[in-house]
Amino acid sequence: MAQASIASVRGLVQVLQSIRSHQKLPCAVTFEPDTGLSLRFLDGGHAMQSGISLSISVFSSFQAPASITFFVPLSILLEAISTVASSMPHEIHLQYPGPDSSLLITTTEDASARTSICSYAKVATLAHHDLSSLDDMWDLQDACSQVILSGLLLREAIEDLEWTNGEVEFVLKRSPMHFALQSIKQQSLEITFPVHALDGFSCHAEEVRASYKYKHLKAAFTHVAQKEAWSAKIAISSRGVLRVTHMLTLAGGGPLAPLEAQPLLGTLTSQGHAQRTCVSKFVILPHEEERDGFCGDDD
């Protein structure tokens, strides 16, 4: 049986917002010993995958005797957690398996107060799904271009492109260093990021171009609810698969457990002091004209 307790209740709800979806499709939840908890979700059109990784450091307690994965409908999971969290408890506990193989979510409060609220949710789990397609998309080894910049800048840029109503092309050029987003329909609209804002830039060809459906970009960039600035890493593989990784901090909560686990992304976390870091990650397949018939209805 795997269990985890987290005191940053508000922070957890906020971070889950970044992958929010109305889809009831299965989300894979994994308790990984020594690493933490992760959620992964493949959207209906099979062109986008989203996920969250919470390192052990964000939990006040975490027990997983072995790697355990189960499946729950994403929207129901997010709704259950945010409903249980609405009474602003001190801690939220996750336990699997709970009664009837459900995911059991419970809360604790200060027992000394005269009045208190104790809530629970039992989320029914779904049959096991094959994860291999998720893995294939998630961990690509081939050469890629990448850049790190402010998540806020990216969000604003993607929001600015909303009215163009079509695909957006990511353009990276090796020299001089250049990273821009261009609307496919409105060729005149191009948002170029200032060079001084770019970090860790590397480009595997003189010029790299790949375009993606707007709704996937909107889901990947604009749902992060964090108010403080955060870093986001963009990586585009030679096949044009886009990987977006947001480094988020969990707000609120009590004292942290000591940080012993490996940092999630070498250059972006500091080993020197404990941080409530959480990673929100998206993988988006490039939009190609030929794929339209194959993927079918994405809406």
């Binding site: 409908p73 709704e79 609405s86 602003m88 009045t115 208190s116 609220i117 629970y120």
Partner: protein, 327 residues
């Protein structure tokens, strides 16, 4: 049938800032039952989406003693229905002009008919007159025909049908969190199971195919105090088990209500700021009774007998699967 009175400052404030805006959120119209002791503002099931709402305001709160007249053949009671938005407009105009001596009276307005030979029509109105800065205003608010004796009796009967529950829980201490929870439950289901225990616990549960949710709000005050005598402490460790334990000992009551009714009743506390928000389940689970009790502004710590607001929530049969709505 005669009604004539002068609204005092407190009455105007209580109506214009508190009770009428509260009732406006629940339905467009309300029924006024005027009497020699008090005024009832009533929204029946037909005025709302299922809630029965009664606000009682003693005449001593609303009107000046001098010049008050309420007379009719039916026990000196007068009832009619009125559009809340229009009534509020009239009162707000008076407030905006810093009105002096706001008089209200029942009047019949004669409307001459345009068709030749037809009799003059009589339309009942509530006539408001007041003096403000440089303004003397008379406004006539159209109202329904005053009720017949039978209809007045029926109105009174419906109002009184809300029997007192065996015991009540005071939700006021946790009203904000209970509101937040109830609001959140809207996305899960239209209905929820509500249970109260003599131990002072309120349970809200939702059961759907994908998720079972429960919240137990513990430590609420129980009224009357006698209801808690002789209770053994509950020993079970989870909310669901504690409810089962109370149920087995005959110390709880439960019903299924519509989420929107509970949410509306709870949110109604915002504008009138009650001191107590008493929630009880009627004998045999026929309805849920929610009463707002107000603090007496003229004494320390006492409760005001002159103002009250109560809701009757309809319930489904005590099962989450099927059952007809029992008004």
């Amino acid at each position: 049938m005669k009604f004539k009175a002068t609204l005092c400052d407190r009455g105007l404030r209580v109506l214009e800032k508190g009770f009428l805006p509260t009732l406006e959120k629940l339905g467009k119209r309300c029924q006024l039952l005027l009497g020699t002791e008090d005024v009832h503002l009533i929204q029946a099931v037909s005025d709302t989406d299922g809630l029965h709402v009664t606000a009682r305001l003693a005449n001593v709160v609303l009107f000046e003693e001098e010049g008050f007249k309420c007379q009719s053949r039916y026990n000196n009671q007068i009832a009619f229905s009125v559009d809340i938005v229009l009534l509020l407009k009239v009162l707000r105009a008076a407030v905006a002009h810093d009105a002096d001596a706001l008089e209200v009276k029942l009047a019949m307005r004669s409307i001459p008919c345009t068709t030749a030979g037809a009799a003059v029509q009589q339309r009942p109105t509530l006539a408001f007159s007041w003096r403000g800065h440089n303004v003397t205003m008379v406004q006539e608010l159209p109202i329904s025909q005053p009720y017949s004796q039978r209809d007045v009796e029926e109105l009174v009967r419906q109002r009184d049908i809300t029997s007192l529950s065996p015991f009540y829980l005071d939700l006021q201490d946790e009203v904000l969190r209970i509101q937040a929870l109830t609001d959140k439950l809207k996305g899960m289901s239209n209905e929820l199971l509500m249970a109260t225990t003599k131990h002072g616990d309120l349970h809200l549960e939702v059961h759907t195919t994908g998720v079972e949710f429960g919240a137990e709000i513990r430590g609420l005050s129980v009224l009357p105090a006698a209801a808690t005598e002789g209770l053994q402490l509950l020993v079970a460790e989870t909310p669901a088990e504690r409810l089962e334990e109370a149920r087995a000992a005959g110390e709880s009551a439960q019903v299924v209500v519509l989420q929107k009714h509970l949410a509306k009743a709870l949110h109604s506390s915002q504008l009138t700021q009650p001191a107590q928000l008493l929630c009880g389940i009627a004998e045999r689970g026929t309805h849920v009774h929610i009463m707002f009790v107000y603090r007496d502004p003229f004494s320390d710590g006492g409760y005001d007998d002159n103002i009250s607001l109560s809701f009757k929530l309809p319930v489904r049969e005590d099962t989450l699967y099927g059952g007809e709505l029992d008004p």
